[in-house]
Amino acid sequence: MMFNLKTDRSQYPQPGPDGKLEIDLETGKYLKLWQGPNHPGITGNMSVELTVCGDEVVAGKTHVGYLHRGFEKLMERRSFIQVFPIVCRVCVPEPDFNEYCYAAAVEELAGIKVPELANWMRTLILEMGRFNSYMMFLGGISGALGLGVVGQWMTYVRDLMLDRFEELTGARIYHMFILPGGVRGHLPDGFAGRMEEVLRTAEKYLADVEKVMFRNAVYKRRTKGIGVIDPKLFEPYGVTGPNARAGGVAKDLRKDAPYLVYNELDFEVQTGKDSDIHTRVDVRYRDIHQSIALIRQILQKMPKDGPVMAKIPNVLHWQIPRGETYIKGESSRGEYGYYLVTDGSGYPRRINVRGPSYTHAMALLEHLIPGTNISDVAQLMVSLHTYPPEIER
């Protein structure tokens, strides 16, 4: 494998031992350029402070905190059921993972066994969420490159899936459907049929995307060989999910540490080898097809009837004995996890959300940015698929 890493930074200032990079802007050679937070090219409300020399970026610093609401603090103030509505807000485009991880962590510490059907429903919702998240991603990366039309289509398809979400869960964005103890309801009548229509439409549009984006000469020029992450960096920088799979590391928690009903489903872990932007998009693109197949499988295989809620204690004064646990799952961006510590009271002692964006958009991005072209920063960020709200929570 050849990795074309632009690591020759000898002509630029070097960071000091404390990691601080002193750049003398007075020389006129360098220019500070801020991308964000009001910036359509980056993946949400965060900003990157770039130091550029001509078209070349010398250094980049990620600035986050624009979306900080102090979730981990707020959760400590809420009872176990009251945490449930706020967890989904941690990550806006793929909220269901928060619901699942939190619910599973509470269930584990409280010793609640979830009914079979609820697990299927949860898997279904997570896959629908993954589909949506990838749709956002495809729209984002094409938008970042100026190929607006793909963004239009993908948002449309995502919107169709949101309709299914709405029908199933009663809300478009924040579904609040996966309660500790199970899920809130059964599938509506005729859901599978309507879902099939959406999947067919999605496949139709994805075929167009294949033609317009992946077989596009300009697109290839813009993405191939750019933003390469050396697989050696995966472990030190905590790279997980599609970003790692694009570098040939076939790790997927759905396979490696199956949760919910993933071990009853057939799917393949998609990998690539070049670890550049193109491969990262491609891996996700192929993963969408896996998600579509998984949704079909789940709807086909899931039990037709049964309870969806386990018996839970009176939620108004629910106390959980002292303990700690960590629940993880493979979100569309990588390993997503909830670390829950309880102290025997009616409130969580501490909840820590481990989002993949946290490692991808901070240390890793700052490592990748120097040496890139100013035009490539946006798509590099998008290709890492980060959602700022889960960084700062």
Partner: protein, 301 residues
């Protein structure tokens, strides 16, 4: 040709027609682009409302004289370009101020607007504007290179620098168009045309995803309205040159509308379905494809 005062009135009428045509046509083209995305897009009269809105804003701030002059220069570039090329061939009314050798003047106006813009935006003090300008200028300059070569090749072919004469030479049959008489030069010019129309894959200047909005970042209110006017006028004026030089010009307003629209659509057809190049990539593209074709066309002639 002699100059008559009435020509000024006729030229203003031309200007009026072209601006209105441009406002509606760009809206229609936006709608066409929206259709590809699967939606309806803006109403056709939206551009008028936007213009009125921008003129009606109550506050303006400015950053120095050049900041004022930027949009003015740019509009001047657009108007100048239009006024010094014959809009409708054979029409006394819409002949405008076409003199012998006006091709050089026209090419000068093409640059004039861009330059004015660059100066104005530089004055705004916004770092994004400055970077946008430097990146935009280098790319546009590169894109104009094949055009210059094509024009050179064509002047060699027709032996004149007068646009009216060039148009006259193409009358009679569709096969008299430069498109057919000098396809290489046309190709080179069209590459430049697509490159300068500010659309993907060569639209770095306005690329919001890379640098928020580029040079016009700071422009607002009436300044922006001026620039919007220019944004409908200038590409049409440029297209008029291309139409005159390579596609036989237009002998009436109907032909004008059709040809301009068709030519304009060329950049749209390409732009809608492509992401954008990086600056050095597009420069490389022009060097690799535009330049050889241009040179070849000269050699062939």
């Amino acid at each position: 040709m002699s100059f008559e005062w009435i020509q000024i009135a006729w030229a203003l009428l031309t200007l009026f027609i072209v601006i209105n045509y441009g406002l509606i046509m760009t809206a229609v083209i936006q709608k066409i682009g929206a259709r590809v995305g699967g939606r309806y897009g803006i109403p056709v009269w939206q551009n008028y409302i936007d213009l009125i809105k921008n003129f009606s804003l109550r506050s303006k701030i400015h950053h120095g004289v050049m900041f004022y002059l930027g949009p003015v220069f740019r509009l001047t570039g657009g108007i100048g370009l239009l006024l010094f090329v014959p809009t409708i061939y054979g029409s006394v009314m819409h002949q405008n101020f076409s003199y012998s050798g006006d091709l050089i003047l026209a090419l000068y106006f093409v640059f004039f607007g861009t330059l004015g813009m660059a100066l104005g935006a530089g004055e705004s003090g916004h770092p994004h504007a400055a970077i946008g300008v430097s990146r935009g200028l280098s790319q546009v300059t590169m894109a104009e290179l094949p055009l210059a070569l094509a024009v050179y090749s064509m002047t060699l072919q027709y032996g004149t620098l007068n646009i009216t004469d060039i148009v006259a030479a193409q009358q009679g049959s569709i096969f008299n168009w430069t498109l057919f008489t000098n396809p290489l030069a046309t190709t080179a010019a069209m590459i430049a045309f697509v490159g300068t129309m500010m659309r993907s894959p060569f639209d770095v200047v306005l690329a919001p995803q890379e640098i928020p909005i580029g040079p016009p970042t700071e422009y607002h209110s009436a300044y922006l309205a001026l620039m919007q006017t220019n944004r409908v006028l200038y590409p049409i004026a440029k297209t008029v040159i291309f139409m005159n030089l390579f596609f036989g010009g237009a002998t009436n307003w109907f032909e004008f509308a059709i040809k301009i629209f068709a030519l304009y659509m060329v950049s749209v057809v390409v732009g809608v379905v492509h992401p954008r190049f990086r600056v050095e990539q597009s420069i490389g593209f022009f060097l690799k494809w535009g330049l050889p074709v241009g040179v070849l066309s000269i050699l062939v002639v």
